[in-house]
Symmetry: C2
Subunit: 407 residues, 2 copies
């Protein structure tokens, strides 16, 4: 039952022509950011925009005729759902997907568009899981586990095999861990093909389940993470021993680094990563000295991120870089003052994004008003220059966060 390189090579033959052989490409902007030599494997270019298709394709193809006739069932609100639905439709297998009732409608619609029968049940993932198990039993459906299955692991492992074929020089692969299917499959493939390669895992600090399992740790699992794709509270029974054997370290990353990594993929590398897809880069940002100068392979494992969340990440990062700043000033409430300030900001090259007046605060004189002005700057030094100029003009500006006109 142990997954081997031979299983992974067989999986490669199974998926050929049915799953995209994604490009592995040098990423000079990310290399510049991290001082390593970064290569990115673009799994976000799969039809359903994640690596999950590989495992799903291998698993479904391996079913017997009798199993195919019974139909399959999976519980997932995310990438596994669409991957199973897509390959089941392709193979003419009936698929039932159980999702928690809180699942965003776009994901429900996307999965239904792939001809799956979607059942919305359970407030939480645990409840949905219980419901899915009950349906599977009642309707005699074949269970497709998202990670703890040898076929799934072999399917995911095809990624590293392709990466080392394209770039045999890689020194280290950094791989996100949810239940561990992705890292287990790829650690088996990579270490078999190149024994000296290092495999590093990544989890978020909110869901350190594999880290706990390896270190007899008791860190709590829970909370709203941007990387919901790897928010798994229990390491897999099959994946854990593989990780213990073949993975040198698990790096835990904070939410803010996942956010920065998503932003870096987008603004520097011009590609869209979901939180879990950016976790490998987040690990590099967490421990840059560990990877500096080395040839690092990142698996951009998924690109399904809510567009509104993405927009908010981009704007928040501009605020962090002081390229969007807000100044609060108390000004006399009379004609012409805003005109003076706005003209001054124009001279300074600051683009005004929003203006807000607050007249009701008690620390403002009755004939005054508090003014929040949000501007776009060239960079941090420019923001400081604008601040000093407003000070010199006597406005006593104070920097505030989340300014006018940005929501």
């Amino acid at each position: 039952m142990k997954t081997t390189l031979a299983d992974i090579e067989a999986a490669r033959r199974t998926i050929a022509g049915h799953v995209l052989r994604t490009p592995l490409l040098p990423a000079p902007p990310l290399s510049g950011l991290t001082r390593a030599e970064v290569y990115v494997k673009y799994e976000n270019l799969q039809v359903t925009n994640s690596f999950k298709e590989r495992g799903a394709c291998v698993k479904l193809t391996a079913l017997s005729e009798a199993e195919r006739r019974r139909g399959v069932i999976a519980m997932s609100a995310g990438n596994h759902a669409q991957a199973v639905a897509y390959h089941a439709r392709r193979l003419g297998i009936r698929a039932t997907i159980v999702m928690p009732v809180t699942t965003p409608f776009v994901k429900v619609k996307a999965t239904e568009a792939l001809s799956a029968h979607v059942v919305l049940d359970g407030e939480t993932v645990m409840e949905a899981q219980a419901r899915a198990k009950a349906i599977a039993e009642a309707e005699n459906l074949v269970w497709v586990h998202p990670f703890d299955d040898p076929h799934i692991m072999a399917g995911q492992g095809t990624i590293a095999a392709e990466m080392l074929e394209d770039q045999p020089d890689l020194d280290v692969l950094i791989i996100p861990i949810g239940g561990g299917g992705l890292i287990a499959g790829n650690a088996i493939a990579a270490r078999a093909l190149k024994p000296k390669i290092e495999i590093v895992g990544v989890e978020t600090t909110l869901y350190p389940s594999m880290w706990n399992a390896l270190h007899n740790g008791t860190r709590p699992c829970g909370g709203a993470t941007l990387a919901e794709g790897i928010a798994v509270s229990q390491a897999g029974a099959l994946t854990l021993p593989v990780v213990r054997d073949l993975v040198s370290e698990i790096i835990l990353v904070e939410e803010v680094l996942i956010e920065r990594a998503v932003n870096a993929f987008l603004t520097l590398q011009k590609t869209m990563a979901e939180g879990a897809g950016a976790a490998g880069l987040a690990a590099m940002l967490a421990a840059p000295e560990r990877f500096a100068g080395r040839k690092v392979g990142l698996i951009l494992c998924g690109g399904n991120i809510d567009p509104r969340i993405l927009a908010s990440i981009v704007v928040r990062e501009l605020e962090r870089e002081n390229r969007i700043v807000s100044f609060r000033m108390i000004i006399p409430d009379r004609p012409g003052v805003l005109g003076q300030i706005a003209s001054r900001l124009g001279e300074l090259g600051a683009n005004i994004l929003g203006v807000e007046h607050h007249r009701m605060f008690l620390d403002v004189p009755a004939k005054g008003t508090k003014l929040d002005v949000t501007v776009e700057t060239r960079d941090s030094a420019h923001a400081d220059e604008i601040f000093r100029a407003l000070e010199q003009d006597g406005y006593r500006p104070v920097r505030v966060e989340g300014g006018a006109g940005l929501g």
Copy 2:
């Protein structure tokens, strides 16, 4: 002097190892959107994130030793600047780049980071151009034209040669037109390799310079376009006859379609296109029946878009799809009313993004207030359902645009 397939084949040998051989990949989500079979050539993955490196690499490599010692100069606020700077540094050639003073600082910084000497001069592109010509003469520098040069055209033409090598079945290429270097080079390559392939050009309705040149038209050129990379007011002298010979049609696209195309690349195909980079897809959205069922090659020619603009495009598209909607209601100004409305919206599954009170409007009773509530919905039907529920509750909602908390 006429550029031929042989020149383009030579250019391929010149750029090998120095310019990324970008992937051409099927784009099923975009095929679903357009009902064509779409393939995308990812030029946004080049080091400086645009195709301009191809021409720059060929041009600079072709310089004589004496010319290299003199150094080169280019006028550009965009992708050509970074491409010339990058390949000049690689080849040990001194590069001067002239940019208008209005150029965003990030672009200045990015070009300086590539070791170019940046001169900021001229309020407009025309003034910067005049200044660059003067410097070139005074300092005896070699001029690197962005499009009207046989080496540049041959360099850009390598894209179609790679595309047809990877996917010989393509029926049509849709290619953005600024000065025409990209389309001229690629039309030569593609029609020589596959005489039956169709070449369609795209310009924005704001800058129809090549369309004017072909049709003796007098449409005005000017205005702020999202596709500033193809905002060129005068077709090239060398590129125009090639376009006249080999291009079957130029489609003019409105700004709103460019915006939709940028959003589709991002949210469906998980990749970042600047306005000009998305122009080909915008043409498909403008004339879907023209391309339905055909194998269409799109050149995603650049990915350099301002992050704040991108964030705003994404949110605007959610508003267009009614996934973000704002309701305005006149409510009595007393405790508990907002609580009732907010709870009702919660029951309806609408996520509240912003709330704003307006007490100063004269059409509101003195004891009332105007309330703008902005919510996230599942889709258009859900937005309608929420509207009707608020109506039934007696709030007389009115849909408004650009609601609370979004800027």
